[in-house]
Subunit: 352 residues, 2 copies
DNA sequence: AATTGGCACTCTAATGCACCGAGTGCCAAT
DNA sequence: ATTGGCACTCGGTGCATTAGAGTGCCAATT
């Protein structure tokens, strides 16, 4: 019987480590014979078998059938990434390359899209980046346009060039002049503030004595409330390289693929996972069933939040099979998150 | 040897028809035995074999191997859809259902998206709808917003509520007032015209004597030129139900799926095919390799342009395996195209 | 002359079987 | 504690056989 002392044994951990590394690189269940040839642990197959039996008792590895090697379990991977991993940081050449790729003007200067594509291309898996949270963007300009039957089209621009729009319903018709006036007021008072700040200010105004406001101001505030007060939470993300996932045998089953791609289309599963890692700082990893979504049972997700001005505004990550090269992916995700944050920063500073 | 008279023979056509229908419903190569049981042609298996041999000589059917039944070739399908098909129009109940689905406000009243989803859901294949061509939309409102370093963000609204934006580069900086004035001018002169008309008018203005214009007008015209004169041709489409395609055995090969989904992501292949049927009127069908794109070798594409005010503004269609129920799909595509056109029509009229 | 039944032939898919190789678990020896 | 040895298990492969479906062709029938 394996006691706790034995599992803390450096040797068994080393063995687990090389086993997992081997499995990740080969994709085949790895047996005692192969491990015995590894120079880092100079052991006979028999010894290795004993250790592996212990690891199996602890639920760290698993045998698909009697005469196949061992395969890491989720628990095994977890231990591996938590304590056994030797992350190799990217060298400066790669970082520079990433940086350039991020700012490439290829597709209309879409930095977020570029980040997603870079992650996908470099890892040969799927890259995902959430759009920066609306709340934290700065209001630059707002505009109202009357539509038919009491509806008003609101257009607002944030952060230099991102255009959003929303239709709000009002109970009476407004003249273009009124709307123009309201927009002017809002632009002058709230221009430059973050949407969160705008929202707060609006709510405060509404609670204060409304008598002191004139008609135009009141209208402006009401319109702004309709636009910003209800959190539209338009979470969305850019996903790239989904098709790369088809190359992996462990995912390429018909039903599996279908589930996976449907999850991508419906978005909420991915959103939920990404949101979770919004809170935590630094790289976070979901391995296999840890995600809690059946579609991702065979997948791992490596995520990292990214920040502008020390404020977390979004999350990016890589989705691939549980059998992925975590050291590399973690490094990529980490660096890309930092670079993306820097690229989005209005006042350019060197991040590293 | 089969002569021409023989192929025009009603019987062999009838046979081809039932063969294809059978193949479409079963997905198995169909042999003489099965066909002999069909009541519509009362023939012995031997006779059927003779006829099938003729059809094979003509390249209409094909035998995967010696002792498998026959499978239609592209040429066979072509003949089938061109002359043998009995399209059953939808009954009014289905039409009403479609109509309601189209106008459902589920996802922000996105009529085009609804159309795509409807096509996908009803056919259990992939639905695709191009966005209405920009050129034919009417300009409702335009607005300029100065950005840093000589760039200007142009926002314009078309057709009541669609918001577009574009960044243009100018060689000098403009004051907000100048830009406001330019926008006012353009809104008053060109508001309500189609983008194509605006573009034409702008080009004409530029050729005329520019002396008679004042500074403000000149600026406005220049800005408009930058915005509209170069045809941005932002072709795009909404694709839904791609994952439905994974269910079909003939497409579910790993490599096949990958090619297909990559084509969907890159968009240009699909765009090109859809553009082709923009010219033709009514339903058009691409069968298998007819598309000319390897990724769609095993697919058929049923398309139809849709029109607003008798002007073709876009195309929609269904993508599925060559073995699809053409009668049904054609009917769906046809009706959906008409309903979508009607739904987009500013002045509501009953389409049918 | 068209249609049909009969028959030999071909090819696939499924089945059973033997065998190899990889890997394990256990035990006894070191 | 480690190791070599050995019996055992199990998946994969190669091979032969069989069953079934379907064809092509020919001669008989209508």
């Amino acid at each position: 019987m394996a006691n706790q002392a034995q599992i803390l044994n450096g040797r068994s951990l080393q063995l687990l480590k090389t086993l997992i590394e081997r499995y990740i690189s080969d994709g085949q269940p790895v047996g005692s014979r192969i491990l015995s040839k590894d120079p880092s642990l100079n052991l006979s197959p028999a010894t290795i078998r004993n250790v592996m039996a212990d690891l199996e008792d602890l639920g760290l590895v698993h045998s698909p059938h009697t005469s196949a090697g061992r395969v890491p379990t989720v628990k095994g991977y977890r231990l591996f990434v938590d304590s056994l991993l030797t992350i190799k940081p990217l060298d400066s050449k790669e970082v520079r390359c990433l940086h350039q790729g991020l700012l490439a003007q290829g597709d209309g200067g879409d930095v977020v899209g570029n980040a997603s594509r870079l992650l996908a291309d470099l890892t040969q898996m799927a890259g995902v980046v959430t759009l920066p949270k609306r709340e934290l963007l700065c209001l630059r300009h707002i505009e109202f346009l009357p539509l038919s039957s009491g509806r008003v089209l609101v257009i607002f621009v944030t952060n230099e060039q991102e255009v959003h729009n929303k239709i709000i319903h009002t109970n009476r018709l407004f003249s273009p002049a009124e709307l123009q006036q309201a927009a002017n007021y809002l632009n002058s008072v709230y221009g430059g503030l973050s949407l969160a700040a705008v929202r707060e200010a609006i709510l405060k105004e509404l609670q204060e004595d409304q008598q002191r406001m004139n008609q135009g101001m009141l209208l402006a505030i009401k319109m702004a409330e309709l636009t910003f007060a209800t959190d539209t939470g338009q979470d969305d993300y850019v996903l790239t390289g989904e098709t790369n996932l088809m190359e992996f045998n462990e995912l390429s089953g018909r039903d599996h693929l279908k589930q996976l791609f449907e999850a991508f289309n419906q978005k909420q599963a991915v959103i939920h996972l990404l949101d979770q890692s919004m809170k935590s700082e630094g790289v976070q990893i979901f391995i296999g069933k840890e995600s809690g979504y059946q579609a991702f049972d065979q997948c791992s997700l490596v995520t990292s939040p990214y920040s502008v001005n020390d404020e977390v505004v979004g999350v990016l990550g890589v989705i691939g099979p549980t059998r992925m090269s975590y050291e590399k992916v973690i490094a990529f995700v980490d660096v890309t998150a930092k670079l993306l944050g820097a690229a989005l920063n209005p006042k350019p500073t060197s991040p590293l």
